[in-house]
């Protein structure tokens, strides 16, 4: 068995910035005193003239990024998710979202897997916050390969994007030689007919493991990777609803307002089937090793598999199948 490569999605972000520094002279990067942690430091070292540190001032970071974009630059503005989407929410909303400016809010250290720093730094609200801003694109990659590709794709798109990256090194799922990022498209990465697991971020890998566990029990689970949470790939979700009749969403985010919310909103209106959510259950996190915390908060394959069986049990009407 090939050795599993582990890397954090923030590493993929740093790799992409380094590449963009070479290929795109319009790319400018900003940070708020977290360049080492967010990996913008990689870009800073190679292209110091195109890097600006706002210091510990996230509101101003977003405003300056907006102003730079109005001077024709493609700006990546980074901080931790808590501060980029949380602290600076209104600046992102009014100075970037409302005028629809070409700023990529690239937030790292999202979710509970921040680990030991604890609840104050574990942002599980960012997807919900960013989803409510009209015209905001939200991308939450599953591994470093996807993170790199997503960052480069975001640089080619003219408009505001929220990029969500993690701190924790996670198993690489995709082959960097063949992976192709398709803007706004979900991807069926395992087929199945009894239930669909719609996952994002580090939960994609857990979903794949859950599907394997379910197979042993005779349950055929489809797995869909949603990297672009907004705009959501409606077709692939509805196809899953029609064909498998039950859905479980899996995300490292509050169960309120994130991927689970987005999928529920869609399915409820078009073709209601059970949608069960795996996520942080509307609670704050705590300090601890990331891996342990993911288990404590139910963000693992075991929990996904359980929810999948529940979702199947909730099917109350015959569903359309192939």
């Amino acid at each position: 068995m090939a050795e599993v490569i582990k890397a954090a999605t923030r590493d993929g972000y740093g790799d992409a910035l380094l590449e963009l520094g070479k290929t795109n002279d319009k790319v400018v990067v900003m940070d708020a005193d977290l360049a080492g942690a967010t990996k913008t430091g990689v870009f800073k070292k190679a292209y110091p003239d195109k890097f600006f540190n706002a210091g510990i001032a996230e509101g101003n970071l977003m405003g300056v990024a907006a102003g730079l974009s109005l001077s024709g630059y493609t700006v990546f503005a980074s901080s931790f998710a808590m501060f980029a989407a949380g602290r600076a929410f209104e600046q992102v909303r009014n100075s970037i979202g409302y005028p629809h400016l070409n700023v990529k809010v690239a937030a790292t250290h999202a979710g509970i897997s921040v680990g030991e720093d604890g609840a104050s730094h574990q942002c599980c609200e960012d997807i919900a916050l960013m989803r409510t801003i009209p015209g905001m694109v939200i991308i939450n990659p599953a591994d470093d390969v996807e993170a790199k590709a997503a960052t480069i794709a975001a640089s080619e798109y003219d408009g505001p994007v929220y990029l969500r990256f993690g701190r924790l090194a996670v198993p690489r799922i995709f082959d960097q030689n063949t992976y192709k990022f398709e803007w706004g498209k979900g991807k069926k990465i395992r087929d199945g007919i009894d239930v669909t697991i719609v996952a994002t971020g580090l939960m994609v890998n857990e979903a794949l493991t859950a599907a394997e566990m379910l197979e042993v029990e005779g349950v055929s689970a489809r797995v869909i990777n949603i990297h672009t949470i907004k705009p959501l790939d409606k077709d692939i979700i509805m196809e899953a609803a029609y064909e498998t009749g039950a859905i479980v969403t899996a995300e490292e985010h509050n169960v309120i307002g994130g991927l689970g919310g987005a999928v529920s909103e869609l399915v409820c209106e078009k073709f209601p089937v059970p949608v069960l959510k795996v996520g942080v259950n509307d609670t704050f996190g705590r300090s601890g090793p990331a891996k342990e915390l993911l288990g404590i908060y139910g963000l693992d394959c075991k929990h996904i598999a359980e929810k999948a069986k529940q979702a199947i049990a909730f099917k109350i009407v015959p569903q359309i199948k192939n």
Partner: protein, 280 residues
């Protein structure tokens, strides 16, 4: 400053003030007080200082202006209209649901608006980013922004002030419209930001104090600002809220309130008298 030019600016400013009264009366809402206090500075910016082209509002090398005190959009709209960005008649559509003139500036709806603003404290950061962008691109356009004196209570203003001086943005000028009144009272009654010049100096800015209604004073400040290298300039403009309309002057209740018919007539008559005196 040449007397003819000064007279012309005073005439334009008076017409812009009529636009403020006209627009807010028509909308039966809006912010006349702070619009009237910043009118002279905006008139000077668009008729003397700034290199802009009304026929090509998005011209790449234009000077930029960000109205950080976005609620005083009626003054900016009036000046932009007088400068030829759009018809002055548009002012009567202010704040109407089919109007290009939003309650607060919207860059994609109104020709000549360089940035959407309205949420206080944010515009200055964007102006700082524009000035940084000009430096990065080796462009020589300059960036101007206007803030309310109450607005500088927002912490973000000082984040931006710190950053602008740290980056040596001498292509940036921020005007602080110091009319000493905000919604809940005088600045001292609410939460004093004084002394303002010393604060900007402490943040590394070149500071110039002026009478915000005297075109000679405004003229020399902007000319001096251009000579300063290595630091941004803050122009602290002492002003009168409601300037030009007797019953609005220094009266905080006109911060966010439109005239009724009787008040509208009186205000317009006063401004018409001022205008005919200037044009005589």
């Amino acid at each position: 400053m040449e007397l003819d030019l000064k007279r012309q600016l005073q005439i334009n400013a008076c017409k812009a003030r009529m636009g403020v009264i006209e627009g807010t009366f028509s909308a039966q809402s809006g912010h006349p007080g702070g619009s009237l206090s910043i009118t002279d500075v905006l008139t000077y910016l668009y008729f003397v200082e700034m290199n802009v082209n009304p026929q090509e509002p998005k011209w790449e090398n234009r000077d930029r202006f960000v109205l950080s005190k976005g609620h005083t959009a009626p003054a900016l709209y009036s000046v932009l209209a007088l400068r030829g960005f759009f018809s002055f008649e548009e002012i009567k559509t202010l704040r109407k649901s089919d109007s290009m003139l939003q309650g607060h500036p919207s860059m994609h709806m109104t020709p000549g608006i360089d940035m959407s603003t309205g949420s206080l404290g944010q515009g200055i950061s964007v102006a700082v980013g524009m000035a940084l962008g000009a430096k990065l691109a080796n462009k020589d356009y300059r960036v101007y922004t206007a803030l309310g004196d109450g607005e500088i209570q927002e912490g973000q203003v000082w984040e931006a002030a710190m950053f602008a001086s740290a980056k040596g943005l001498d292509n940036l000028v921020a005007v602080i419209d110091n009319n000493n009144l905000q919604i809940d009272g005088t600045l001292e009654e609410v939460n004093s930001p004084y002394p303002i010049p010393e604060k900007f100096e402490a943040f590394g800015w070149n500071v110039i104090k002026i009478d915000g209604h005297d075109f000679d004073s405004i003229d020399s400040a902007f000319k001096d600002a251009k000579q300063i290298k290595g630091k941004p300039t803050a122009i602290i403009a002492k002003s009168v809220k409601g300037k030009g309309v007797s019953f609005m002057e220094n009266n905080g209740s006109w911060h966010g309130k439109a005239t009724n018919s009787e008040q509208y007539e009186q205000a317009m008559n006063e401004l018409k008298n001022t205008l005919s005196e200037l044009e005589a």
